[in-house]
């Protein structure tokens, strides 16, 4: 018996009982669909995390001042901590090996005004290195450069969001905006950047698009702080050559900063790559759970197939007897019924793939959960459905093959 005959017979059987076949497939359909949908949600979360940490820089060590109340600030000052300063940056650059760049930043929250519009924003004083270390992209104009920095020029670069709020359709480059009592010239606008939606260590979640960047040198000259005790800068971003030495380097950085701050823990260190690895580990548990759920639903689907196939074999005892009488071997009968089970599971698997893909697309369109379908997840889900067909079709097919021709041919 050629195998194509089996497929024809199986397809015929399936289309003869469309509704029953559909019900039989349901378990497989949902199993496959849920595998694909869940894997795509997991993958989406993974990509989002990677993007987030890439924004922070996977080669970076971030030293950030702790958020402190005035009392706490006073306390660390009385314990001789000078707070985070450009001096820290210099010392780190001198002592720590393998550091490629260091960016310092100081921040205040201030009202930013243009014409009759005004908006609350973070004004961040930065060194020119900032741009290269933190994956920023300029949309027009230029970022704070060495000339701006060296000459303490009164210039600023706007985030995409704030540029739109202040200027709408106007061209911002060359315009003057007012921050506190200072007039600054807009020299650049940044590309829109993903929202930073989660607080990571000392880094609070916020919308990076509403920031205004100015040269740190000018910032320190011209902008007054609310509290005179406040540190010179709020953050140092240290880029290292080799991400494999992040841990050692950060230990060394910690040691230096702690000493300079006279053992005051008024700062925190964030290593984006380590956090990424940690999240990856957590996701593995989640993935394992997903796998278990998927396996269970596919097994349930398989049992559904087995159930119907057992009934089908009973129902078609006579047919089996006839086929045996005219020369079908056990293996022919076996092949016929396994093929039927596999055809059902493949059909169910295909429908499941379509459903799963649409589900994950719907999820990403209608919720803020991002999904990403990887080809391998579709292939795995589909392959499993075929395996389920073979495994759960085997027993009913074996029963069919083992029917005695003498008895089955007279079965009414």
């Amino acid at each position: 018996m050629e195998y194509s005959e089996n497929i024809k017979v199986a397809w015929q059987g399936l289309t003869d009982h469309k509704f029953r076949s559909f019900l039989t497939m349901l378990g497989i359909i949902f199993g496959v669909a849920s595998v694909i949908a869940m894997l795509s949600i997991g993958e989406g979360a993974k990509r989002e995390a990677i993007a987030k940490y890439q924004d922070l820089g996977v080669n970076n060590i971030i030293v950030r001042e702790k958020d402190m109340s005035d009392e706490e600030l006073e306390e660390v000052r009385t314990k001789f901590s000078p707070g985070l300063s450009l001096r820290d940056a210099e010392v780190i650059r001198e002592i720590v090996p393998g550091v490629t760049r260091i960016a310092a930043q100081a921040e205040i929250n201030a009202e930013v005004k243009y014409a009759n519009r005004s908006v609350k924003s973070s004004v961040i004083g930065v060194t020119p290195e900032f741009y290269d270390i933190l994956n920023y992209k300029i949309k027009e104009g230029e970022f704070v450069n060495d000339i701006h920095y060296g000459a303490r020029q009164k210039v600023c670069v706007l985030g995409a969001g704030i540029a739109y709020t202040l200027f709408q359709k106007e061209e911002p480059i060359g315009k003057m905006i007012k921050i506190e009592d200072q007039w600054l010239e807009v020299v650049g606008v940044l590309e829109s950047k993903a929202l930073f939606t989660e607080t990571v260590g000392e880094l609070a979640a916020r919308d990076l698009n509403t920031d205004v960047y100015v040269p740190l040198s000018m910032f320190l000259d011209r902008f007054s702080r609310g509290n005179v005790l406040e540190s010179e800068i709020q953050q140092l971003t240290i880029q290292v050559e080799n991400s494999e030495r992040l841990m050692e380097t950060s230990a060394l950085v910690n040691e230096i900063v702690r000493r300079h701050h006279f053992n005051n823990e008024d700062y925190g260190i964030v290593i984006p790559l380590e956090l990424l690895k940690q999240e990856e580990k957590e996701r593995q548990i989640y993935n394992f759970l997903l796998g278990a759920i998927a396996a269970i639903s596919l097994i349930v689907g398989g049992i559904g197939i087995m159930n119907i196939m057992l009934a089908t074999v009973m129902e078609r005892t006579r047919e089996i007897g006839i086929r045996r009488a005219i020369g079908a071997r056990k293996s022919d009968i076996m092949g016929q019924f396994v093929t039927e089970a596999v055809v059902i599971s493949i059909a169910g698997g295909l429908i499941g793939v379509v459903l799963g893909v649409s589900l994950s697309l719907l999820v990403s369109v209608f919720t803020d959960v991002s999904t990403y379908i990887r080809l391998y997840s579709v292939i795995i889900a589909f392959a499993f459905s075929v395996v389920v067909g073979v495994v759960f079709g085997y027993l009913p097919a074996k029963n069919a093959a083992n029917l005695k021709p003498v008895d089955s041919i007279r079965y009414e």
């Binding site: 018996m1 006579r318 086929r323 005219i326 020369g327 056990k330 021709p405 041919i409």
Partner: protein, 236 residues
């Protein structure tokens, strides 16, 4: 025994065990059948005639004794070889036709050839020829449900003939037909016999047995008589 026998059955028994009861369905049955014979096996129900037919048709094997088909001891064959035997040497014709309802006439006739591994084109050609032989070629695309009882039995006969089997084994072939149609089927068997086919009729009706040339009568699991039919019904 004679060497040119097609079927050579010697001292076969068939016993069934049902709990503590042992039923001897066949006891010490011996029979030889030559190629081209037209023979009936008759007996009342419960006589063991069905058991005998199952063994003749390689659907079942005897408990003891020997069944040789063209010199091959069938009782020692395994399941696959028995299947091959049924496929090549036995052409079954059943009382209730036993066609597959989802397949049309020609597909039903092709089926034994499919199991024999004959390529599709040749299969179709041979099936059409077999249907022509039973004068049903024009109905070959009809499903069994679209055919009359007599036509269905013709399809079944075509299916039995299509592999050129050693024997045609017909189990009450007219049992489900009206008498006029029954006579037509018996005429077809007569023609097939004249063309050289070996035919074994299994029946409980004397009337049907009378069409055969040789009559075997089974009673209580053994052969009661085995004689030439002197009173043969000739189909006009």
């Amino acid at each position: 025994m004679n060497d040119n026998l097609l079927i050579e059955i010697t001292h076969i028994t068939k016993r069934y065990e049902m709990g503590d009861n042992v039923v001897m369905a066949l006891q010490d049955v011996s029979l030889g059948i030559r190629e081209g014979e037209y023979l009936s096996i008759m007996g009342p129900s419960g006589s063991g005639k069905s058991t005998f037919m199952n063994i003749l048709g390689c659907l079942d094997t005897p408990s003891t004794g020997e069944y040789k088909f063209r010199g091959v001891d069938v009782s020692k064959l395994d399941d696959d070889d028995l299947s091959a035997m049924r496929n090549k040497e036995i052409g079954f014709v059943f009382q209730n036709f036993n066609l597959l309802p989802k397949l049309n006439a020609v597909q039903n006739v092709e089926l034994p050839l499919a199991y024999a591994g004959v390529p599709a084109a040749e299969r179709h050609e041979r099936a059409v020829r077999a249907l022509e032989r039973v004068k049903l070629a024009e109905r070959m695309h009809h499903k069994p449900s679209e055919l009359s009882g007599g036509q269905r039995q013709r399809v079944a006969i075509a299916r039995a003939l299509v592999t050129n089997p050693g024997i045609l084994l017909a189990d009450e072939p007219t049992g489900a037909l009206d008498s006029k149609t029954g006579v037509e089927i018996m005429r077809l068997f007569d023609e097939l016999h004249q063309e050289g086919n070996t035919i074994i009729l299994i029946t409980h009706e004397q009337e049907i047995a009378n069409y055969a040339i040789r009559n075997v009568y089974i009673k209580d699991g053994s052969i009661h008589y085995d004689r030439l039919n002197t009173n043969r019904t000739i189909v006009k």
